[in-house]
């Protein structure tokens, strides 16, 4: 068993099927779908490459960095995130309608999908495994502060937590607060501080050193 496999098992040691069995099942399905003309190897290469190399949290980081530096863009983002993200060329599947949730000193947002694993693909890419597995989906609505602590974010009780359960085809992501000590930074520099976890709401952005 590889270390990767151990990490992605939802409940360590309990997984019923080995990676070899799952690979064999997927190949069996693929071989039938290929024969029936439903899928092609080129389509698999194309789609997986989009989400491995093009669409990921680095796009959401660009959106956040632009909102931090351009007040008019930020206003458009908070009014209609779908249209604002389109300005940067980010749109589409699993993000047909998106809402950006602004963190402030008094309010902190957290996004979950308790029923499956809905996630704003156009700005964050495909979700990490922990977002899809039972522990997060169960606890984010009942123990959001405990979950955030496990990610290193210890919010004072005076900060209101707003959890968003993505139960429809509307997708949510968080606009975190711009860290102090970044005055005069370029959008590109700022984007480097924006983490995936800060846009889900479980974690903080990176803070400049010193």
């Amino acid at each position: 068993m590889t270390s990767t496999q151990q990490k992605i098992q939802p409940v360590e040691g309990l997984a019923k099927h080995s990676d070899e069995e799952l690979a064999a099942r997927a190949k069996a399905m693929e071989s039938i779908l290929v024969e029936k003309g439903i899928i092609g190897t080129d389509a698999i290469d194309y789609m997986s490459s989009v989400y491995e190399n093009e669409v990921g949290p680095q796009l959401g980081a660009q959106v956040v960095a632009k909102a931090w530096t351009d007040p008019e863009f930020k206003a458009r983002l908070l009014a209609d995130a779908t249209e604002a993200c389109k300005e940067l060329g980010f749109s589409g599947m699993q993000g047909e309608e998106m809402t950006a949730l602004e963190n402030t000193p008094d309010v902190h947002h957290l996004v979950v999908c308790t029923l499956c694993s809905c996630y704003p693909w156009p700005v964050l890419g495909l979700p990490p495994n922990w977002y899809k597995y039972p522990a997060y989906r169960a606890r984010a609505v009942r123990d959001p502060r405990g979950v955030m602590k496990e990610f290193g974010l210890d919010l004072p009780e005076s900060v209101e937590v707003r959890v968003w359960d993505s139960s429809a085809e509307l997708r949510y992501f968080v606009l975190p607060m711009r860290p102090e000590g970044t005055e005069g930074w370029t959008e590109e520099q700022l984007a480097g501080l924006v983490t995936r976890d800060s846009m889900i709401g479980v974690g903080d952005v990176r803070h400049p050193e010193g």
Partner: protein, 226 residues
Amino acid sequence: MDGIHDLGGKQGHGPVVHPDDEPVFGSAWERSVLTMFPAMALAGAFNIDQFRHGMEQIPAAEYLTSRYYEHWMHSMIHHGTHAGIFDPEELERRTQHYLAHPEEGAPKASKPELVETLKQLIPTGMDARREADIAPAFRVGDRVRVRPDASTTHTRRAGYVRGHVGEITHAHGTYVYPDSSASGLGDDPQHLYTVKFDAADLWGDEPGAANTVLHIDLWEPYLTTP
């Protein structure tokens, strides 16, 4: 349905195990399974609500202990079999073959028209909004109660808000109604709202949900006056 997938608020699942870094795909076969989703949907095997319903029918113990794309395969085989795409015996025969010959890949084939479709579909998506001439029963600011009834078919009426009273914060207009869509009854557009609940009303005095509110998107048939 009132299945194991309805996880909000359930206890006993342990800490959130979150490695700092993990690959987008944990194994090569996950790349294929991701692409089977649009390919099989375009072939008419399922819509997104039926696809979710298929995952909800995974046996409970297996649901909790299997990988994410394993859930996907389960739903694809379920619907693909009903659609006549997969024959379970043939699928099992081929699975055993690839298990015995792990070095062998699935046959290669090109389908350039699917690549072209994906180039259109990925940046545009599949909008679930449906214009319908129905007056909304509720407005922003209204207090509503989520119907407490049990459910035997697909629904997005999460268990942890059933029977509870919240406040409508957004009225979005009319959308595909998943309960009908998953049952093969068409889009059946219904008004969709975002409803806000006080965590204290849902959980009582739960330290991890102090000073917390929850928002969840709910369709009009899920709601009644309080």
